[in-house]
């Protein structure tokens, strides 16, 4: 407050100073605050621009060209032709469908399992550390390593799972391959989901559950009517993280089927075109499309967040 008055007394317009006394200090404070905010963000923003904006812009630029490294002299600017090619291609849409299927199924299953795991980890009193550590083991294993162990497990003759559950070779058929890919994904990332949800569980005050108990709620009612609503922001964060991750699924497919039997995800497809096929134009187009899809998913989630924070949907707050 005193700083404000000092600053003000240096301004020559004395008469207006008195009239405007009630409001200006506040807006000045706000302005200073905003400036400070921008300054604090600037370094991070700068680094972000340097490391992400350049590659993104460059791949957009590449996606607008015919550019196949096998025929370098045919390089030319062709506008949106690559996009037309990709979006009318059935391989793209098959891969898109596969990716969507994997995303929806794995995230849904992980949410349910993760919630169960989170509650177990939250509630255990004895050997808490041990329970938590062992639950997190799958997440700690490198995806490729884990994927290989799944592959060997499902390989007929050598794998214990293949011998137990099937007489054919499950990784050579589409449906069973997809199921195994999803299984591997779920096994690997459920602990991560559980970890995020556990942070949400910690947000639920003990008194709230006690109040619900005395109000006559059963365990299930406490979960659905008290815990879930309070946890909603944490659940949305967990879902966002996992959805974006799942949509870019690559390593498990790469190791388990290498995209055979139409099990490619969009990331696999982009990789195949870009790195294996050396078609920089088409590959970049796919990358840009993946980027756009991910951005749309993120946007939808962020929209949902807006109304998720407790009290934020009340007009008086704003």
């Amino acid at each position: 407050m005193s700083a404000d008055t000092v600053e003000k007394s240096t301004t020559p317009t004395v008469p207006t100073q008195r009239g405007g006394r009630r409001k200006p200090p506040l807006s000045e404070n706000k302005k200073a605050e905003r400036k400070l905010g921008l300054l604090l963000c600037a370094p991070a923003a700068l680094v972000m621009i340097l490391v992400t904006a350049y590659p993104i812009i460059y791949s957009v630029w590449l996606s607008l060209q015919r550019f196949d490294l096998r025929f370098p002299d045919q390089r030319e600017f062709i506008g949106l032709d690559n996009y037309v090619t990709v979006l009318t291609n059935e391989f793209w849409w098959t891969a898109f469908g596969v990716t969507m299927l994997i995303t929806v199924v794995t995230v849904a299953v992980e949410l349910v399992l993760g919630m169960g795991l989170a509650i177990i980890m939250h509630r255990t009193l004895v050997g808490r550390g041990l329970v938590r550590t062992s639950a997190l083991i799958p997440y700690g294993i490198v995806t490729v390593v884990a994927a290989f162990s799944w592959r060997y497990a499902w390989t007929p003759g050598t794998g214990y799972l293949a011998n137990l559950f099937s007489d054919g070779a499950p990784l050579t058929e589409r449906a069973s391959s997809l199921a195994i890919i999803m299984l591997a994904e779920i096994w690997k990332t459920t602990p991560f989901m559980a970890l995020l949800l556990m942070a949400g569980l910690a947000l639920v005050p003990e008194d709230l559950l006690k109040a619900a108990s005395t109000d006559g709620a059963t365990a299930w009612q406490k979960f659905t009517k008290v815990m879930l609503p309070v946890m909603k922001p944490a659940i949305l964060v967990a879902l966002l993280f996992r959805t974006l991750d799942a949509f870019r699924v690559f390593d498990n497919i790469f190791v388990l089927t290498a995209g055979g039997n139409e099990t490619s995800s969009v990331s696999m497809l982009a990789y195949n075109n870009l790195i294996r096929g050396l078609n920089l134009g088409i590959g970049s187009t796919m990358s840009v499309l993946i980027f756009i899809t991910v951005a749309i998913i993120a946007f939808i989630f962020v929209k949902l967040f807006g109304t998720a924070a407790p009290g934020s949907d009340d007009s008086e707050r704003r």
């Binding site: 009193l125 005395t214 109000d215 709620a217």
Partner: protein, 402 residues
């Protein structure tokens, strides 16, 4: 509505902490009982056991004559109000209050009627569509009360419901709680560590210390006839003065002079294991400016002279602080009380004497003043056990009783 009986109820936690020890308590139907005591004495634990939120380690709990030890909270039909209010943040005020009714599967109309009624009683009608985040502390408090009263439970349990409010609001809400309880006539157990609340609200007060009940009784009885040192020091504000007293040839040697003893106390002190040192307790209002005491009254007490430290005039009377020489009274209870009150509030055991004199007194700071005190209102405590030696059949009789 129902009575609540605790029969030798104990609670020990898995880590070995004994939070509540053999608590015997009979709460009559419609009674308002206050649990009070310093932090960590097991008040909340006792309340949680009544609510069913905490298992009972041993003993029996009966609500309306029925053993409920193994019943889930939802089957006990009691409502609880928490210090943190514990309102559901995602629900509006109306939904919060309707929640227990909805769980009880009442029809919509009944629910709305009951919520509206409760809201009217608590002056919440205009806030029914707000979320808890947009309410003030006092309003949240009232919503929490509303949620408890809508379902007309057998009993209310309240755990420091007013502790998060500022002083003024707390006084206001105190009358709201008191009025509400009288209107509804619902059995209520109320936990607090604020002794003003304890004195003003309840029909009976239960004083706890270290998981054990110290004394149960109407507030005035606890004030006048404390069973032990702890109760004497805990109840009353400013607290009772405690002085060291040495037993000497049938009398007591204290910083206020030689205090004569009546036959009864003397007989107590004659036994072989009787303490040679006592703690003398006297409340501030039992002092008076010696100039203002008539002869008749004078005979019931004795006088001393001491330098005046501070005079605080309250209008109706004067709080006068004296410095007295001599040994400090010391006992485990006094240390505990001082720790709980935060030393500043508990001058009881220091070299400071707090007195409440008539407003007409001309006492001034810096003077040495002659002060009279009432020997019939003196309490004598055994420093070892804390027992009040002047208590006879539950009545405190002073030092002179025969």
């Amino acid at each position: 509505m129902a009575d609540i009986v605790l029969d030798k109820v104990s609670k020990s936690f898995p880590d070995g902490t004994v939070a509540v020890q053999d608590v015997d308590l009979e709460i009559a139907d419609g009674e308002f009982v206050i649990l009070v005591g310093p932090s960590g004495c097991g008040k909340s634990t006792t309340l949680n056991m009544i609510a069913g939120l905490e298992d009972i380690s041993s003993g029996e709990l009966r609500i309306a004559g029925q053993r409920v030890n193994d019943k889930a909270p939802r089957d006990r039909d009691i409502a609880m109000v928490f210090q943190s209010y514990a309102l559901y943040p995602n629900m509006t005020v109306r939904e919060n209050m309707a929640f227990p009714l909805r769980l009880a599967k009442l029809d919509k109309e009944t629910i709305n009627r009951k919520v509206d009624e409760a809201a009217k009683v608590l002056e919440l009608t205009s806030l029914l569509d707000r979320k808890p985040a947009n309410l003030s502390g006092g309003q949240r408090q009232r919503v929490a009360m509303g949620r408890a009263i809508v379902r007309q439970p057998k009993a209310f349990l309240m755990d420091e419901p007013l502790s998060n409010l500022d002083a003024k609001l707390r006084v206001q809400m105190r009358t709201v709680v008191s009025r509400l309880q009288k209107q509804l006539g619902t059995t209520t157990v109320y936990v607090t560590h604020d002794q003003t609340e304890a004195m003003t609200l309840g029909d009976r007060v239960v004083i706890m210390r270290g998981g054990a009940v110290q004394q149960v009784g109407p507030p005035q009885e606890l004030y006048d006839h404390p069973r032990n040192l702890f109760v004497a020091g805990f109840i009353g504000s400013p607290s009772m003065n405690f002085l060291h007293a040495a037993v000497q040839d049938g009398g007591l040697h204290t910083a206020l002079g030689e205090v004569p003893l009546g036959d009864r106390v003397r007989r107590e002190l004659e036994s072989a294991d009787a303490p040679r040192e006592l703690i003398l307790g006297i409340r501030p209002e039992h002092f008076e400016d010696a100039e203002l005491v008539d002869d008749d009254t004078r005979r019931r007490g004795m006088e001393f002279e001491a330098p005046v430290d501070i005079v605080e005039s309250m209008g109706s009377d004067k709080y006068v602080y004296f410095t007295v020489e001599g040994e400090k009274a010391s006992a485990a209870e006094l240390e505990e009380l001082a720790a709980d009150a935060g030393a500043a509030d508990f001058a009881g055991a220091g070299g400071n004497l707090v007195t409440r004199l008539s407003a007409e007194s001309t006492v001034a700071e810096g003077q040495t003043r002659r002060v009279w005190f009432n020997l019939e209102k003196i309490h004598l405590f055994d420093p070892g056990t804390g027992r009040n030696l002047t208590l006879h059949e539950g009545r405190a009789a002073g030092a002179l009783a025969d």
